[in-house]
């Protein structure tokens, strides 16, 4: 029986490259190709790099030529960054996915499609179900541009799945990732010497550990299920608890000023603004139910919500000079619990 042929779209990103690295170790995979506009950041041994822009129609010629049976789309961008404004994000996320789906429809050998999406589709509101299940998408208003993009591209994938019943389409809805050496705006926010928070708010968060994020992606690439799957750790943790575990002094700011303050501070300290989604998330929080991930995708996250933070806190001390000035450490030293 011939092995599998996998194409990873967005291989220059962290998740695409990590997935390629893991699949290379899998003897059941015969051929791996990576598509992106620039080469992957890490050295890959047996991954073919195909230089192509996901937004261009050339994908429709390149993809069928690979004779792939699995396509994993890791090219969805979450955060605007310098040189990559929100408009480019929309192009890559929506138009890019549309081009990719068109190319997939031309690829007769294709059996599985995995899209690495976002749990932002559920939104962040004050009063919501505390654990969204996959069927609750779009029950809340789509307030930010990124949310609308995610919702739109999911609709395209759903249409594609309906038109091609033989093709197994799986959308992974990721909660934000956290990891000791993961560089995202959220991680940079948590690394700030003094972390601004929104006065009076304490959101419930679920941050998935980077290992689990890659693990779930690998599980989905190996044996995808139909439809949407939430990727999140079990349990949840509040922001105040996160910041205490990570020993970060906080600075509560009235919430209308939080976004602008973070943007100003971000430019100074290189933390990067979090934009609408992040700001709403750090006010209201969001939790999703990961039952489908564990039962159907058969992936059991190694870290729960608190464990992921403990691992992050243990391995990344944050940026500070001199001894910790966090109250917890000070009182700990006084009471003799910490020396």
């Amino acid at each position: 029986m011939p092995g599998r042929r996998v194409v990873i779209v967005g291989v220059a990103g962290h998740w695409g490259a990590e997935l390629a690295r893991r699949l290379e170790r899998d003897p059941g995979v015969d051929y791996i190709a990576g598509i992106d506009i620039e080469p992957p950041p890490v050295k890959l041994e047996r991954t073919d790099f195909i230089e192509a822009d996901i937004r261009s129609p050339v994908l429709s010629r390149l993809l069928p030529a690979t004779e792939a049976d699995t396509v994993v789309h890791c090219g969805i961008l979450w955060y605007p960054e310098r040189g990559r404004p929100a408009r480019v994000l929309h192009d890559v996320n929506v138009i890019g996915t549309l081009q990719l789906l068109a190319a997939c429809e031309r690829t007769s050998t294709l059996q599985r499609l995995v899209v690495r999406g976002s749990a932002a589709i559920y939104g962040c509101e004050g009063a919501t179900p505390y654990f969204f299940t996959e069927r609750m998408a779009r029950t809340l208003p789509l307030r930010t541009r990124f949310q609308r993009d995610v919702s739109e591209l999911e609709a395209y994938v759903e249409t594609c799945a309906r038109r091609h019943p033989g093709l197994v389409c799986c959308i992974l809805r990721y909660q934000p990732e956290i990891g000791p050496d993961l560089d995202t705006p959220l991680a940079r926010y948590l690394e700030l010497p003094v972390v601004p928070t929104q006065l009076g708010w304490d959101p419930r968060l679920q941050l998935i550990h980077a290992d689990d994020a890659t693990g779930a992606l690998e599980a989905a690439a190996r044996a995808p299920v139909r439809g949407a799957v939430n990727v999140a750790p079990s349990g949840s943790i509040s922001l105040s608890h996160i910041l205490r575990l990570a020993r970060r002094p906080t600075l509560p700011i009235p919430h209308p000023l939080f976004g602008p303050a973070l943007e100003r501070l971000g430019r100074r300290l290189g933390a990067g603004p979090l934009y609408g989604d992040g700001v709403r998330m750090l006010r209201f929080g969001r939790g999703v139910d990961n039952e489908r991930l564990r039962a159907e995708l058969e992936y059991e996250p190694r870290f729960d919500a608190e464990g992921a933070i403990r691992d992050f806190a243990a391995k990344s001390p944050g940026r500070r000079v001199g001894p910790s000035l966090h109250l917890g450490d000070l009182t700990g030293r006084l009471s003799g619990a910490v020396r």
Partner: protein, 320 residues
């Protein structure tokens, strides 16, 4: 024991400072002097300091709903004061609350400014049940778009009122409190006190049927006098998005002082649980049945309210 610790503390702080001065006179730097002084603190104070330090270092547990048991225990004495002294709560039939497993407590809702009934029901179970357990309560959505209040509610066991949340909690064998009257109950004028409002769409019965949780009706007398609502500042309510803004004899005239609830006498009664396990699997979709059970619960509570109103005699003076 607690009062003892408080009485001790000024003395202990003075001792601590004295020892610290001795340390500095011995030529130690302030940090080591503080360390040495702290080593000699009396045990009780050291325990408190250790608890505080442990909290600040994040060494505590919160469950997946954000309920923080230690925090709830820390604010417990305040509510205990309201329970024992302020409202002199008398609770009957607490044994009707199952000692383990899931159950849905359904109660009348009142208290225009702050509905304290949830906390008092919770306390009566903690204080009087032979096997005390923390109950969770469903809170009006609006409270969860407010800063401070939303964070506080979540830590002591509140969750936004949603059938998904209720069903998940019951699925985890928790005790869940719901107030089907919702804002209609808390916002009713003083003249209509103890007249139960419409019970929504019967969503609570649907959840109980789906999760096969027994329904325990609870009648609370006394809560409807703590903030006599005489009027409603409608334009203000519309401006801030609140369901209503009450006007009471003291609020908003006396400012923050107007938020002090009146010390009425409370009586609480937990009724016999209504079992719903006998109904078939698709009973939860039967509108007729939902309304029937909802009405049965409503009538039970209404009946018990009248009964307890008579037994209570006076609203503010407790009989000797």
């Amino acid at each position: 024991m607690n009062a003892q610790a408080q009485a001790d503390s000024p003395q202990a702080v003075a001792d601590f400072l004295r020892r610290m001065r001795v340390g500095i006179e011995d030529g130690l730097d302030p940090m080591s002097a503080a360390n040495r002084a702290a080593d000699e603190l009396p045990q009780r104070l050291a325990n408190v300091a250790q608890l505080v330090s442990r909290r600040l270092r994040g060494e505590y547990h919160e469950d997946e709903w954000g309920f923080d048991e230690e925090f709830a225990e820390a604010v417990y004495p305040l509510f205990e004061f309201l329970y024992e002294v302020w409202w002199r709560v008398e609770a009957n039939g607490v044994l009707n609350v199952p000692a383990h497993g899931r159950a849905l407590l359904v109660s009348n809702h009142a208290g225009a400014l702050f509905p304290f009934d949830a906390s008092m029901i919770l306390l009566s179970i903690m204080k009087q049940h032979p096997l005390p357990r923390w109950a969770r309560f469903l809170v009006l959505d609006w409270a969860f778009v407010l800063p401070f209040i939303s964070a506080f509610m979540r830590r002591v066991g509140g969750v936004p009122a949603s059938t998904h949340n209720a069903a998940r909690l019951l699925g985890q064998d928790e005790l869940v409190m719901v107030f089907p009257e919702g804002a209609k109950g808390t916002g009713k004028p003083f003249s209509e006190r103890y007249r139960l409002q419409r019970f929504g769409r019967g969503g609570f019965v649907e959840v109980a049927l789906r999760t096969r949780a027994p329904i325990v009706p609870v009648a609370v007398v006394g809560s409807e006098e703590i903030y006599p609502k005489l009027g409603d500042a409608r334009p203000l309510a519309r401006a801030v998005g609140a369901p209503f803004v009450p006007v009471t004899p003291t609020f908003p005239w006396l400012g923050p002082l107007g938020m002090v609830p009146l010390p009425s006498k409370w009586r609480m009664e937990f009724c016999e649980p209504i079992q719903v396990t006998d109904y078939g699997p698709d009973a939860a979709e039967d509108r007729r049945l939902l309304f029937d059970i909802s009405e049965q619960v409503r009538e039970t509570i209404q009946g018990k309210l009248y009964e307890n109103l008579v037994k209570r005699r006076s609203a503010f003076v407790s009989p000797l």
